[in-house]
Amino acid sequence: MSYIRPKFRHPGLPKNELGYTIDHYEGSLSTLCAGCGHDSISAGIVQACYELNIEPHKVAKLSGIGCSSKTPAYFLVNSHGFNSVHGRMPSVATGANLANRDLMYFGVSGDGDSASIGMGQFVHVIRRNLKMVYIVMNNGCYGLTKGQDSATADEGSKNKAGSVNHFGAIDLSSLAIELGATFVAQSFSGDKTQLVPLIKAAMKHNGFAFINVISPCVTFNNNVGSTKSYDYVREHVEATSTVDFVPEMKTITTSYEEGTVKGVKMHDGSVIQLHKLAPEWDPQDRLSAINAVQHAKAKGEILTGLLYINEESKNLHDLMGSTNIPLNTLPESVLCPGSEKLKDVNAGLR
């Protein structure tokens, strides 16, 4: 098995505005199973960061435990990273973010890590609207422990051994909208043309940006009867819209029919161009988003694309009024004002 990727790259690779070719954003060679959807999502993250001219040292990748949580090793090798305890990635992300708001936070989790052991952490990080991108690589099974059904496995879905799941699935996207998440999207690892602009938009969102990505497990959950196989997802996928992400200062050059395009302006001036495929749906209206998801579900379809966005979102720092300056650049006198100051504080509480 190869464990080193050859160093040679295509000599004609284009460079982004920072002068980096895309390989600057790659990681080490994946050790996941051949054909794993997670690798496509990693490649989507690499592509998005390259296209948005992200400086790799301004990114922190965080993850929990599971196949999904191994992936930060396979992208952005020049960025910061923290592989945390199972399901506890949101706590670590919260701490890191509060200490240094200048970094961009990429949380990578899986269906087990978020919908089972880490559910408590997941709902609270949504509630707090921590500014981060939170990607769930959702394959409906515990791939790392040989494919048991996970909490997102659909009722009636058949696993590789042939047994049928009798429990209802936790729908992470509906849950996120319900809990007040300010950016909720759903996508499929096999459709990078949709996934990459969604990741780019999520990175520009001023708050918690959640992307639930259906990512087939080729080894344990790609069989006939599974609702998370490549074939099943391709047959049942229904998109809310096609998405173009337009960074600030760029001219918008989409050529869709008038009236079907909705432009959502982000806080930094960039624009998400949505070419709506479902006329009754409005991505800035929570009720409409919930309706759209539930309707699709009732029809047995998987709705993908940007489901809901609140572009006026206020993130945790805005809400708490915390300092604008990363703590590691504050002088000790400010970080630790001394016992006199403590006395003042204590006196104020008497």
């Binding site: 051949a34 690892s189 096999g190």
Partner: protein, 601 residues
């Protein structure tokens, strides 16, 4: 684009750039792998089958394979293919046990080969095992032709040449050395069933109209004649100051030989700019390494003779100017002419064919006084007479001569057994088989090493410049040979795609280090080349296109910088990609229709 027809062997053949560029289509990656495995006998025999003179070519080949090498497109330098061939030749054991052994059962036909150079010897090697009675004629006392007379022994030791010539002569060839053939008619009158002309391009160009040419004749020599005279030990010294005129490989051999025969101040003087010289870059380097300056942009004006003795030459200084159409002309700079001292001058400004011994009524010649020869069958307008090597289409090189020899031998054989020399030619031998050995294991060393090209060590200049026969290049030792062999990208291990197995998971696209693979909508080739993950600007390399996949897209792979690392196939969950070894071998006369060997007289 239409789906690529990989059943056509020429498609994958073209992907093996080195083999495709080799005139004899030697299966290069195959023998390089064998060298890495220290199977030198096998590596040698793969070469011997294709190019007949591995030891000679491993030292002297023009290396058309190396500029084609894929490694040169992803890194600075190609694999040292030529010098690896020498590693096989240097380290082999007794290979005669793998070679055909006479006496062969006579088939009753006899052929004559005129000239004992590489082309004729290749014909002899291919035809002898078929039972032909082969008569080989040469004016020299030994076989080898220009390989012996032109290539100095400090580049090609006589022992190496003798060994490889003898492998062929030992097949039971009737040798007529020291025999100058004066008339083709005389040969044909001896009732040969076929005659092969491999007499090379034996006439060196002169500068007869240059002032002082006649007066200084005693110290002015034609390069190839002089080299030949050195090789056969008729000449053993030269003046201290030598001018070599010309910028080709013969000029390089002349100047380096001069250094060994007493030339202390040897200069190469060329008309054209240095970069446009015909000599191979490595031969120019070797000359400069031996303290021989190469003076470019100097056009010879006259030989200067004082008191009946040559004292030097005058040159006009020029510069290269390109006109609107890009045509290059040499324009005088207007500076005064330059005088350069010389005791001897060697003229190496090209060579040409010469057929004074062929009666023109026997076969047709064109307006350039060259025989009319078919470029596939090598037959002349006389259906019993075949040409090959430099004699066929003018001066080229050893490997081209060998390739001609193979094809001419096929034609001669076909003609002798009453078959059509154009339509009955044999197809190449082709094989394609999977290298998959386990889930993530291949039957070849798929890892791509980062090593830069290794330099072949040379013997000390102090020794080589005093002994004409001391070989300059020492060749790679076994360890370095292995490391250099590992630089080969195994281009013959093909990426074979089966669309019926593909689930479009994109794993291959994501993992490919050189961004070769794209899944996209189909289109015309020019449009598709623009839309790939990295634009496919190298038009000489094909795009491998699949049929339509379930999502309506196609798989398009740019062959240009594929590293053949096998990662696409390793990351493919369904084996839609597979690494398959492609073997392509030009069929030689000795291998065809053995069952039809019984020829009725």
């Amino acid at each position: 684009m239409k789906p690529t027809d990989i059943k056509n062997p020429e498609y994958f053949h073209k992907v093996v750039d080195c083999q495709y560029a080799c005139p004899a289509h030697t299966p290069v990656p195959e023998y390089i792998r064998l060298i890495a495995e220290q199977k030198y006998d096998e590596a040698y025999m793969i070469n011997w089958d294709s190019n007949v003179f591995p030891g000679v070519l491993g030292r002297t080949c023009d290396r058309p394979c190396e500029p084609a090498c894929r490694r040169g497109r992803v890194e600075k330098e190609p694999v040292a293919i030529c010098r690896l061939k020498r590693v096989a030749a240097d380290n082999k054991g007794d290979v005669t046990k793998f070679m055909p052994k006479g006496p062969f059962k006579p088939n009753g036909k006899k052929v004559a080969l005129i000239g004992a150079g590489p082309a004729s010897l290749a014909v002899a090697r291919d035809l002898a095992p078929l039972g032909y009675e082969i008569h080989l004629y040469d004016e020299q006392k030994l076989g080898g032709g220009f390989m012996r007379s032109q290539i100095p022994s400090f580049r090609l030791p006589e022992s190496v040449l003798n060994e490889e010539v003898d492998y062929i002569l030992d097949l039971g060839i009737h040798q007529h050395f020291n025999t100058y053939v004066k008339s083709l008619k005389e040969i044909l009158d001896k009732h040969y069933d076929a005659v092969f002309v491999g007499t090379g391009a034996p006439r060196g160009r002169d500068l007869p109209d240059l002032k002082g040419r006649k007066e200084g004749a005693a110290n002015i020599h034609i390069g190839i004649d002089w080299l030949s005279s050195v090789a056969f030990e008729h000449t053993s010294k030269i003046g201290k100051k030598v001018i070599v005129l010309g910028g080709g490989n013969t000029a390089m051999d002349c100047c380096r030989t001069s250094r060994r025969l007493g030339g202390e101040q040897v200069k190469v003087i060329v008309r054209s700019p240095f970069a446009e010289m015909k000599a191979s870059p490595w031969e120019k380097e070797d000359a400069q390494h031996e303290d021989i300056p190469i003076i470019d942009n100097h056009v010879p004006v006259s030989f200067v003779v004082e008191n009946g003795k040559l004292t030097g030459m005058t040159f006009q200084k020029v510069k290269a100017v390109k006109d609107d159409k890009g045509k290059r002309t040499l324009v005088p700079t207007g500076e005064p002419d330059v005088f350069i001292e010389a005791d001897d001058v060697l003229i190496a400004v090209g060579q040409e064919n010469s057929f004074p011994w062929i009666e023109r009524d026997l076969l047709e010649f064109d307006k350039w006084n060259m025989p009319v020869v078919n470029d596939r069958s090598f037959v002349s307008s006389n259906k019993k007479v075949f040409f090959g090597g430099d004699a066929a289409f003018g001066p080229k090189n050893v490997i081209t001569a060998v390739a001609h020899g193979h094809q001419a031998a096929i034609s001669m054989h076909l003609s002798c057994i009453g078959k059509d020399i154009m339509n009955d030619r044999p197809d190449p031998m082709v094989n394609l088989h999977s290298m998959k050995m386990g889930i993530h294991e291949w039957g070849y060393d798929s890892a791509v090493v980062d090593d830069l090209r290794y330099v072949v060590p040379q013997a000390d200049k102090k020794v080589t410049l005093t002994n004409r026969k001391k070989e300059v290049e020492l060749g790679f030792d076994i360890a370095t040979g292995f490391k250099e062999a590992e630089r080969c990208l195994n281009c013959d291990i093909q990426t074979v795609f089966s669309e019926s197995k593909c689930i479009e998971c994109d794993a291959c696209v994501d993992v490919c280090p050189t961004s070769c693979i794209t899944f996209t909508s189909n289109g015309e080739e020019t449009d598709l080349r623009e839309r790939l993950k990295a634009p496919a600007t190298n038009k000489t390399q094909d795009i491998y296109v699949s049929d339509i996949l379930p999502t309506g897209r196609i798989m398009a792979k740019d062959e240009d910088v594929c590293l053949h690392c096998g990662l696409c196939a390793e990351r493919c969950p369904t084996s839609a990609w597979d690494m398959q070894q492609f073997f392509y071998n030009v069929t030689k006369a000795g291998k065809i229709w053995q069952e039809e060997l019984v020829i009725v007289k």
